[in-house]
Symmetry: C4
Subunit: 124 residues, 4 copies
């Protein structure tokens, strides 16, 4: 099998937002995921930078092994400024040392009927 690395090393996501609440009757808890696909044969070391409306950027590290996907839960991530704040607009930049593909998804469970949104991130 040919496991050429596929994608780009830099990806941007302007619209991030972690809802404050999750309804106890919802089938999921509110969360955001930065989903990484590493189709190549080398592990990917990722640096995530988070941008805010009212503060300097913060950072976090993650990995996505070779021939694996990793769905990074932003509600569980520890940044150099602590956990990400909820109910504030923010944005994300993902840098990888090998080519990967990145997709962002949000599930809002503020109401028992959850709602989903997704987009492939913007590559550079």
């Amino acid at each position: 099998m040919n496991h050429t690395p596929l994608g780009k090393c830099t990806w941007l996501i302007p619209d991030c937002y972690l809802p404050e609440h999750s309804d106890p009757d919802a089938p999921y808890v509110s969360h955001e995921s930065v989903c990484v696909l590493n189709a190549g044969d080398a592990d990917a070391h990722l640096e995530l930078t988070f941008y805010f409306e009212d503060a300097e950027p913060s950072r976090a590290q993650a990995e996505c092994p070779a021939r694996r996907t990793r769905h990074i839960r932003l509600d569980a991530l520890e940044t150099d400024a602590g956990p990400l704040r909820r109910s504030v607009p923010y944005a994300a930049l993902v840098r990888s040392d090998v080519p990967v593909v990145v997709q962002y998804s949000r599930l809002d469970a503020s109401h028992p009927s959850v709602t989903l949104m997704t987009s492939i991130a913007y590559p550079i």
Copy 2:
């Protein structure tokens, strides 16, 4: 830290629509956001142009400071033709004087269970 400007200076969003109503039992009010990520070291000055089915375009200004995100709420924006009309199809063009990345999201709260949609805008 290297804060190279990332992205493009022109972004288009064909599907804008501000819902008329928000259900009083919904966890949010209906709104649209033009989310801008400015990863560079220079402030971004933005011109938004809005296109309609039945009228000439209108315009508005906004800013996104260096190393910040700005989630521009279209329901709160003042254009040179006043606030954006609700319940009519429209579209948006965003021009920036420095490279940025733009994502469009809509939350429709016409029903207590809100629904979300999002897409990275189209860059030129």
Copy 3:
């Protein structure tokens, strides 16, 4: 004002589907829109081609005037094979004689709590 045409002349949308039903308690009826933004100074003449799983393609015409948007409702469109069938997978190709930008959105109102999805179409 400079009204350079912005975008591409060919756009593809693989995932189209017109839901059969709309709940009478929903705030909208189920529908799909092909949203066109024509930022230029020449009217856009559009040919839409629809692809199916079990039949040859059908076609329809539409227009988007200069400096206007047009949100084409697929549930209201007359093709050369009649109205589009509901509850079957289909796909769409949009060709324009001048550059435009195209976004596809679906609202499913099968349940009183509607759900939205959207994506910028794929440009060529």
Copy 4:
């Protein structure tokens, strides 16, 4: 008619997830679709590769005839490792022997009010 093949031969989808449950009162069952549009005059032979967080990739085959769309239901697909597991993050790579366009959509029917999300896949 000119049926030039349109699109690319390689498409990636980082965020796949098959929900475990479907509410009996929902208008649909939970599912994911890989939607392929083949606008050309040659049949497309597709190889789908699925990536996981905790296992080596698995594979499946599919076809999309000339001038047709095919909405591949991932909940019904047989891979070389059996049906896709539910309630685990995974990702997909689609390779075609002729140019096509690929869009990914998910419908989550865990609650009676279903929610949709979609994105054009990432092309290479």
